[in-house]
Amino acid sequence: MYILPAVTILVLLTLVPSVFLYYVSITDYELGQLWSTHKLIGFRNYHRLLSGRDFEFWPSVRISITFMLLATSIETVLGFAIALLLNQEFRFKSLVFGCLLMPITITPSIVGQMWKLMYNAEYGVLNYFTERLLGVKVAWLGPELAFLSTLMVDVWQWTPFVALIIYAGLRSIPSEPFEAALVDGANTVQSFWYITLPLIRPLLMLAVIFRSMDSLKLFDVPFVLTQGGPGSATELLSLHVYRLGFAQTGWVARAAATAVLLLVMIISLSRLLVRHIREGGSTV
């Protein structure tokens, strides 16, 4: 009874649009078409995607998954390293924290704009340094490097997030196990591997889940930075959905079907990871 208002809002904000999305994905609706003239066409949109008649779908899936794997693993490793450094006492620690928080708090589209300026081949600050120091001009957003450049922005923005989560985990570990290990004659590597890692594993997995889901549905940064180009070097699945449905083609229904498949991918991935945490949790 008391949760009715909240449930109503939840239904309106999530359930209705999702059901609408599923419905649109089995129609032939196009942007600008009058809604009353749309037809139901069954699973034709899905068939088109899965059978490879939409040439861009599978390459986009590949790009999205590669991006997710690279971004998550780099961010986790780097974030872990930074968290270990933060776990020691040093001067200006709060200043370092401030600097780490900054990328997380900036709106992703603004991050995209900032990096677009810095990456600019002619006037960008990065090329100013590469030209001065190494004498080379790098086409950061050219066909070869655009994917890695986009990856770098994601790493820059979200590594601190992972670092902070893991840092919180490190702070919560009691010191007794380490003292006991020291008495038993364990070296630093051993106590890291057998004590630190298992103890913060749940938080580590949490960070991995967040980052993998987020990077799978990443949109704003590559949208501003490259618009999916050049060619389809950075055409993540989310951008592909946008380009199908809007821009010049206006295939809203086909975009909806692609979005549903993206949703299925994200949900199955997160379930996989959550189950992994649960199983792992019981062994610790």
Partner: protein
């Protein structure tokens, strides 16, 4: 007898009133508009473009004269189409006056995103000094009309021609290109000839921009992307494949990031002195000749589009002003269009950096003296007319055009960045086009 007399009197009266209305001056027209529509508000959705800047410069005077308040929403071209279509589909009725690319008319008209304009043009309320007939016929029919009905008033017409650096051409003893072969040779010659110098700049960003850039020379090799009578895709025909190969060879002489260029980046590269040549829209010349924007304003010359293997062809493209079908202030929107695009205001518009579409402007001695590219522009129109004589429209008038250009421009761009061969790009584009047209 007396009844006929009354009817005659009435007719005469109507005629007199309508003559009075259409012969009125701008001030008389404005005071009538102010009385009828003063205090209303219109919102314009426009693209970043020299013509938009000119209209914005003239807005204050219009507001003062008519009491209609004008809001501007100016954005990049791709977003513009999205916003206009979403405003229409969502029924939000934000916009009254739309700036519509000639490419979009054949899609907007059947979807009824914009309203037919002939009833406004032929209305007695439209003054003589608007003068629709003064707009060049190729623009009226080529970019503003669909299936015989007028949907847009052409505001910024363009054909395309070649701009070149006179200083560089003199230095190396070169003459401007007459044929596409010469154009390619010159582009190859200048690439790397001086530090940081490339041969040519054009638009080639994935999607509609690449398609538009490719279309600059497509008709010099064949009949283009679609058979304009049967609507069969022609991408794999030998002429079209050849034209893609040529375009890609030419783009190898452009700055390395050309695969991300729209018309804005292309003209910027030329204005910054990075390329020896530029082959794009005449509408952008006012930027190139503007000392505050361009580093090469005093060093450029222009020549008409070079001839290709099957002769001359040229571009007829441009922008329109149109009235959104969702507009709640259609009369105020039409008053705005009447004023801004009229013959009476055409000269002022061009002096503000606007882009001519009217015969009277091209013949105005003062304007011709001011912009040395006018005679070349007219020569370029003649070459573009060769296409009309072949029975082809530069913009194929099909409602599926947006999709066609997006797909063609996608595969062309893939070939440009070397992911696939031009032949393979054409083959895949053909499959997708058959799919789109067959729907």
């Amino acid at each position: 007898m007396r009844r006929y007399g009354t009817i005659l009197m009435a007719l005469l009266l109507v005629l007199a009133v309508s003559c009075y209305v259409s012969a009125q001056s701008i001030e008389e027209w404005a005071s009538r508009i102010k009385a009828e529509l003063g205090g209303s508000e219109i919102t314009c959705a426009f693209a970043t473009h020299p013509s938009t800047e000119a209209f914005q410069a003239m807005t204050a005077e219009f507001e003062q004269l008519t009491g209609i308040k004008v809001n501007w929403d100016v954005m990049e071209e791709t977003y513009l189409k999205n916003k206009q279509l979403m405003d229409f589909a969502g029924g939000s009725q934000l916009y009254d006056v739309l700036m519509v690319d000639g490419f979009w008319i054949s899609e907007y008209a059947p979807k009824q995103v914009i309203v037919p304009l002939s009833k406004y043009i032929n209305s007695d309320a439209t003054p003589d000094w608007f003068d629709y007939e003064d707009i060049m016929p190729a623009y009226r029919n080529g970019i503003g009309a669909y299936e015989g009905e007028i949907y847009g008033i052409p505001t910024a017409g363009e054909t395309r021609f070649v701009g070149y650096r006179k200083d560089l051409f003199e230095k190396y003893g070169k003459t401007p290109p007459e044929t596409l072969d010469e154009l390619l040779e010159l582009a190859q010659f200048f690439t790397g000839r001086e530090p940081n110098l490339y041969g040519i700049a054009m638009r080639a960003q994935r999607g509609i921009h690449f398609a538009s850039g490719w279309l600059t020379i497509t008709y010099n090799f064949g009949d283009g992307f679609l058979d304009q009578k049967t609507w069969e895709p022609l991408i794999t025909s030998s002429g079209t494949v050849e034209s893609l190969k040529y375009f890609i060879e030419l783009m190898k002489c452009a700055p390395p990031d050309v695969a991300t260029y729209t018309h804005e980046e292309a003209v910027s590269a030329f204005m910054a002195g990075r390329t020896a040549m530029w082959f794009d829209a005449t509408a952008l010349v006012s930027w190139i000749l503007d000392p505050t924007k361009s580093q090469v304003y005093d060093k450029v010359g222009f020549v008409p589009p070079p001839s290709g293997p099957i002769g001359d062809a040229g571009v007829f493209a441009g922008w329109n002003m149109a009235i959104a079908s969702g507009s709640k202030n259609k009369d105020a929107a039409w008053a705005f269009i009447t004023y801004m695009t009229s013959r009476a205001k055409a000269k002022e518009y061009v002096l503000h950096g606007g882009v001519p579409t009217r015969t009277s402007v091209y013949q105005d001695p003062e304007l011709v003296a001011r912009d040395p590219s006018y005679p070349v522009q007219l020569a370029s129109f003649e070459r573009a007319n060769a296409l009309v004589e072949r029975g082809l429209a530069w913009i194929p008038p099909t409602p599926e055009l947006g999709k066609v250009l997006d797909r063609v421009g996608y595969w062309g761009n893939m070939a440009l960045i070397g992911e696939i061969t031009p032949e393979e790009a054409c083959r895949r584009a053909q499959i997708e086009l058959e799919d789109i047209i067959g729907q």
